[in-house]
């Protein structure tokens, strides 16, 4: 009996959605174009970083260094004077400016250990670190090559063999695709369920439901399953055809396991949507709450920057957010091919978060009707 109600109310939600063509267009866009663009936009490693060189030495050694900077990592270095350097960096034209001092080559050969100055625009924080490392290693190798011609230096015969696992070429498109995919799942599931509830209230239909033999529990579950199903179907198709097919991102782990995890995740985010809706009085308020919730979820979940590097407090607080667990789970299954033995804590966490949010919303439900 109850199941029949839940089923029927859910089908009603699906029908409502089908009546909003703009929404369907947006869903399709979110799971195809948006992911495709997002995946291909991120630069592969350091890309065409703007560099300028002040060559005060004008020696073979200095020109050797200058010619070593090439695309795709760096742009062809612009030769500038010291006075130009500050202005260009202020205007954000150059991210790196290398200053080779006068008599650099002479001092180098005389083992006087001269100093090269590298100016880095630290507001471009993502390029600043990796880029500085690259500049350092390029300059070092050029200098030692240069010196080899003059003298032989002994060094230790240890090689470091570095290999990346799970994404050997460190293709950012793989990562970009999955992270866009995840953030669109989050956004859509929260908006759909939350707004569906507020709309029922604004149009007075929820009142009608509550005089019928239908419980708030049934109303909430029906919204969760129906909207969850829409997102689940969209994400399965997107994962198969857009991410795996079009973008050729290999899926290491089990597709079914990932979908199972996504289902749990949708339970949590849909409950979050309902929870936000019961807190908001009207659609504009819900819109704002949505932004207030989505932004931190999106930015701090570990999709944009690694979780380990966040301040400890944030890391703990974000454990309460379903995204964090979903991101961990998705990366483990999709990239690292992890099985249930590895991701079960995330599964459990998602279920627990969803259940808690669901309980909270259920409590708020009658109050929400006012």
């Amino acid at each position: 009996m109850r199941l029949a109600n839940i089923l029927k109310l859910g089908i009603k939600e699906l029908r409502s959605l089908a009546r909003d063509p703009m929404m369907l267009v947006l869903i399709i866009y979110a799971f195809s174009m948006s992911i495709y663009t997002g995946a291909n936009a991120l630069p592969e490693t350091l890309n065409r970083a703007a560099i300028a060189v002040v060559d005060e030495d004008q020696s073979p050694a200095s020109s050797r260094i200058i010619t070593a900077f090439n695309p795709p990592y760096f742009s062809i270095p612009k030769l500038i004077t010291q006075s130009e350097m500050d202005r260009r960096m202020d205007a954000g034209i150059d991210t790196f400016a290398l200053d080779i001092p006068p008599n650099f080559q002479r001092d180098l050969l005389a083992r006087k250990s001269p100093t090269i100055q590298l100016n880095v625009d630290a507001t471009r924080i993502s390029q600043a670190f990796t880029g500085a490392g690259y500049v350092q290693s390029i300059v070092t190798s050029e200098v030692s090559e240069f010196l080899k011609r003059y003298r032989s230096a002994a060094s230790l015969p240890i090689d470091l063999s570095l290999r990346a696992r799970f994404n050997q070429e460190l293709k950012k498109a793989w990562f970009g695709a999955i992270s866009h995919f995840m953030s669109n799942i989050t956004m859509l599931s929260i908006v759909l369920t939350g707004a569906a509830l507020i709309r029922e209230r604004e149009h007075g239909t929820i009142e009608h439901l509550l005089v019928m033999p239908v419980t708030p529990f049934e109303i909430m579950v029906s919204k969760i399953w129906s909207m969850g199903l829409v997102v689940l179907a969209a994400s399965a198709l997107s994962l198969m055809f857009v991410i795996h097919g079009l973008l050729a991102v290999p899926i290491e782990g089990s597709f079914a396991l990932f979908m199972a995890g996504t289902t749990l995740y949708l339970f949590a985010t849909a409950s979050l949507g309902i929870f936000l809706a019961t807190q908001a009085g009207s659609m504009p308020q819900f819109g704002l709450l949505l932004m207030l919730a989505l932004l931190p979820l999106q930015v701090l979940s570990g999709t944009l920057t690694p979780r380990e590097s966040m301040p400890e407090l944030i890391r703990y607080v974000m454990l309460a957010a379903p995204n964090t667990h979903f991101v961990m789970m998705a990366q483990s299954i999709l990239f690292r091919g992890a099985g249930l033995d590895v991701v079960w804590p995330q599964f459990a966490a998602l279920f627990a978060i969803g259940a808690i949010l669901f309980m909270f919303s259920l409590r708020r439900f009658r109050q929400f009707l006012k």
Partner: protein, 928 residues
């Protein structure tokens, strides 16, 4: 079919509106079919006819609110299909759409609502105050000038709607069912008001549609319509003569085509058998409901026995609906008890709900489902046996005459048919008790009669208890007993005949009005005649002089400000929204700038040390000692390594081969292995850089120890100078970059919803029928949110400097100027999105999708725009956030001023008119 207007009674011969073979379809439904009428000027013309015959559609065409599909509509001497003419004439037309206060703004006060319309029509402040003062005085609304419209009763809302319509002194007043859902007293006052105004302003033409035939009897000219066609035109007397009838109700029924008339017969409710009336079905005992400071229902008690039809009468807002809601369990009573079938009302009691059918006053079914789907859904929710459902649905459709519209969506149906659908839904499960809140408001006479026939059958044959509220006196007379309610109290409760007798009144209506006038102490209408007094004494209250400046130009600041001020007022009335918009951004900036750390550190690593010598341990120590890495338990073997990397526990695994130290001493080549988790490429790259650097450092240090002077001392030194943010703190870099993000998303969301909300809730009609232009509407809507955006910019900058101690080194003026341009652009983006979407859900999702992703990914927040590729790079280059990020970073961290940054301002400056233009081009000025 007579198309000839009765010109006899027209003071002038020039028609105010001429319709020639007008047709209109909603999808497959034909709403109007070759309608031709001339509406004479200076008259009160009424449209009568059953629900869904196209009355409202016709009125909206005349008002210019809807696009003309076929035929020709000429109003006030020009073609309504011509935009220029529409713009010229719309200040001379006033249109009041169907539905109680549909075009009013519930959070605004009475005065503010009228004031808004005054501004739209370009009146100056003094002119407005004078006109509003007069209108409110005249409609007796003056004492309530400060009350929010949402708290007014239905009758007051209608009067206020009329004030709003009359503020600009129109030549043509169009009222779509203005008295539907209004109690008799208010209805009288309403028509008195119209009569007064017409008396003062003889040139004004009024076109009204109505469901009350007693009202129609007093109009100058009637147009009877059916099925999208005009049946007859003439004075009420003409129609009576033509049909040989004595009342308009009968005349109207006689005018209908044969097949529609056939089913109709007088409703006669047989008396209740005497043995009934023992078992109490509904019982209210001292039922009270208090909202804050106001008592909506004050100690109400009554008993309704099984099978009784109990009527509930009273002015709008007297507590009828609240009482009904308490009985259904929707509202918990403050005190007192309500019992259904002897059981106290309990919102969790499913069994009781199954025997109750409830119909609420406002249409509350799903507009996204067809009529059939709505019936089917409710049948299933009441758990009717699945195989019986189709038959039951069809039965209800037949009973309520819905068979022709089964596949239609409720939005496309007129009020009357929607009401019938609600009724059908309330009765689908054959409940033992019906609680009906004004079920027949807006329903035409025939349908009403057939509905009462059903009620009669249910009560007398099936012993169903019926509790019904109504404003129709002839319906009240049909009830077994009625209760008259006012201001939360039941004034009298008895059989209709007894009540009439007790007041010694001629009709129930008179008795009703007499009771109300007793309590309110006012004499309702100035005239005691029932209905409008067409020949009201002239010139009592001077109508505002005509000839207020009529602004026709393309852009009028005052009209724009009307929308801006209204929007700002609504925002002020919703402090939660305003607080969320400002405080919310600050909280967000705090969380994000604090949490969004681009330093990659605290990475987990572990070692598979197969050498386990002092030297190998020293190598490990080098990594473990750095601030970037945290060492985890050593790796046991390859399987362990694989498992721990797969789970994401380790970002880096180091393998030191056996014989590492020995080979090193002997100068043999050795290889240290390092595995990096590549799942997050950016992190992996950073890890690679760190490991390489540490490896090199260790080598140099070790070489010095092992090889002594033979080793090269560092050949050269590379001095790293991080500029603008010397300690490379993420916070300093991130706070200025987070500000653009927040100034994008929140103002855009606010702007989008402000427009789409009007579309979804119906007040967009004011934009259709007033002289406001698209650009004025959009900029007016935008302005308050630009203001909020600027305030946010100021607050965010202040918090960044004071709380986060992010130094502000550049020109603050430039930053604020850029912020102004930027929020203008971001709210502009919101307006473009709003003109593309109809539902608030789609609007919200579109905004989130189209702002969050481009802003976080393509605008230089993390990866510089110059390094992006493909479509992302294109988006990044045109996206306003990109430029504001540069400006924010420049002014915060790089000590830059206007001279350095003006180039970045240009794209923002271009974006504003482009976005506004696109928004205006996409927005429609008429309903489709």
């Amino acid at each position: 079919m007579s198309d000839q207007p009765a010109r006899v009674i027209t003071p002038t011969t020039v028609p105010v509106a001429q319709l020639a073979s007008v047709g209109l379809s909603y999808g497959a439904t034909r709403a109007l079919e070759s309608v031709s009428i001339d509406v004479p000027s200076g008259c009160l013309v009424g449209l009568i006819g059953p629900d869904g015959v196209g009355k409202s559609t016709l009125l909206s065409l005349v008002a210019g609110a809807r696009v003309i599909q076929d035929g020709h509509v000429e109003v006030l001497g020009g073609d309504m299909a011509d935009t220029a003419h529409r713009r010229r004439t719309c200040p001379r037309i006033a249109y009041m759409p169907q539905g109680l206060g549909k075009n009013l703004y519930p959070t605004l006060s009475v005065f503010e609502n009228v004031d808004f319309f005054g501004r739209l029509f370009g009146h100056g402040k003094r002119e407005r105050e004078r006109r509003i003062g007069e209108l409110l005085q005249r409609t007796d609304l003056a004492p309530f000038a400060d009350r929010p419209v949402g708290k007014l009763s239905g009758g007051m809302k209608q009067k206020l709607g009329l004030c709003c319509a009359l503020i600009h002194d129109p030549d043509l007043l169009i009222l779509d069912e203005p008295t539907t859902g209004i109690d008799p007293l208010s209805r009288r006052q309403f028509w008195q008001l119209i009569a007064d105004i017409r008396a003062d302003h003889p040139g004004m033409s009024v076109v009204v549609s109505t469901a009350y035939m007693e009202e129609a009897a007093l109009f100058d000219l009637l147009v009877a319509m059916d099925a999208g066609r005009v049946l007859a035109t003439g004075t009420p007397q003409d129609l009576l003569n033509r049909t040989n009838t004595t009342t308009l109700d009968d005349a109207f029924i006689a005018l209908l085509p044969e097949e529609k008339r056939r089913g109709h017969k007088e409703v006669i409710i047989p008396p209740r058998p005497a043995e009934d009336g023992q078992e109490v079905a509904i019982e209210a005992e001292q039922l009270t409901m208090r909202f804050d400071d106001f008592t909506a229902v004050d100690h109400v008690s009554f008993r309704i026995t099984r099978g009784e039809i109990f009527g509930f009468l009273g002015s709008n807002g007297c507590g009828k609906t609240t009482t009904m809601k308490m009985l259904t369990g929707l509202l918990p009573a403050t005190s007192g008890t309500a019992r259904l079938f002897g059981r106290e009302v309990d919102p969790t009691d499913m069994a009781v709900r199954r025997c109750v059918g409830y119909m609420s006053q406002t249409f509350s079914l799903y507009s996204e489902l067809t009529v059939r789907q709505n019936l089917d859904l409710h049948a299933r929710l009441f758990s009717l046996p699945p195989d019986a459902i189709p038959a039951r649905v069809n039965e209800m459709a037949q009973r309520f005459d819905l068979t022709d519209v089964m596949e239609a969506f409720p939005d496309a149906l007129p009020l009357g048919i929607r009401q019938r659908l609600s009724l059908a839904v309330a009765m689908i499960h054959s409940p033992e008790m019906l609680i009906l809140d004004e079920p027949t408001s807006g329903v035409d006479p025939i349908a009403r009669d057939s509905f009462w026939q059903i009620l009669s059958d249910l009560s007398r044959k099936d012993n169903v208890t019926i509790f019904v509220s109504t404003h129709f006196m002839n319906e009240a007379e049909r009830c077994d007993r009625i209760a008259l309610m006012h201001a939360g109290k039941v004034l009298v409760s008895d059989t209709p005949a007894a009540i009439v007798k007790r007041r010694a009144a001629a009709t129930l209506e008179e008795a009703f009005v007499a009771y109300l006038e007793d309590v309110t102490g006012t004499k309702g209408g100035r005239s005691t005649s029932a209905g409008p007094a067409i020949s009201a004494e002239p010139g009592r209250i001077p109508v505002p002089s005509r000839g207020a400046e009529r602004r026709r130009q393309f852009f009028d600041l005052r009209r724009m400000m009307a929308y801006a001020l209204r929007e700002a007022l609504e925002l002020r009335r919703d402090p939660i929204r305003a607080a969320l918009a400002t405080l919310g951004s600050i909280v967000l900036m705090f969380v994000m700038a604090y949490g969004l750390n681009l330093d990659v550190d605290n990475l987990s690593f572990a070692v598979l040390d197969r050498d386990d010598t002092t030297i190998s341990r020293d190598y490990t120590l080098q990594i473990a000692g750095s601030r970037y890495f945290t060492e985890k338990a050593p790796i046991a073997d390859y399987a362990d390594l694989d498992r721990r990397m797969r789970s994401g526990e380790l970002s880096l695994a180091i393998e030191i081969p056996p014989g590492f130290a020995r080979d090193l001493e002997r100068g043999r080549k050795v290889e240290v292995g390092a595995w990096i988790d590549g799942a997050m490429p950016t992190r992996a790259e950073t890890v690679r850089g760190y490991v390489q650097g540490m490896h090199a450092d260790w080598l140099m240090k070790e070489a010095r120890e092992l090889l002594g002077r033979r080793a090269a001392v560092g050949d050269f030194q590379l001095e790293l100078r991080y500029r603008y943010n010397p300690s490379v703190e993420s916070l300093v870099a991130m706070a200025p970059a987070v500000i653009p993000l927040l100034l994008l998303m929140i103002p855009a969301m606010l702007a989008v919803l402000s427009v789409v909300r009007e579309k979804e809730l119906g007040s967009i009609i004011n934009f259709y029928v007033t002289p406001v232009t698209r650009l004025e509407f959009l900029t007016g809507k935008q302005l308050p949110y630009v203001g909020i955006g600027l305030l946010n910019a100021l607050l965010l900058a202040a918090f960044a400097v004071v709380i986060f101690r992010v130094p502000f080194t550049g020109s603050f003026l430039t930053f604020m100027l850029a912020a102004l341009l930027y929020v203008s652009a971001t709210t502009g983006m919101g307006l473009v999105i709003s003109s593309l979407t109809k539902s608030q859900i789609a609007a919200m999702f579109a905004t989130a999708l189209l702002t969050m992703i481009p802003a976080t990914q393509y605008s230089g927040l993390i990866d510089p725009v110059s390094s992006l590729q493909g479509a992302g790079a294109v988006i990044g280059r045109i996206y306003p956030t990109t430029y504001f990020v540069t400006i924010a970073r420049g002014t915060f961290s790089k000590a830059l001023g206007f001279a350095d940054l003006w180039r970045e301002l240009v794209p923002l400056l271009i974006a504003i008119p482009v976005l506004l233009g696109a928004g205006a081009a996409l927005l429609r000025k008429q309903a489709n």
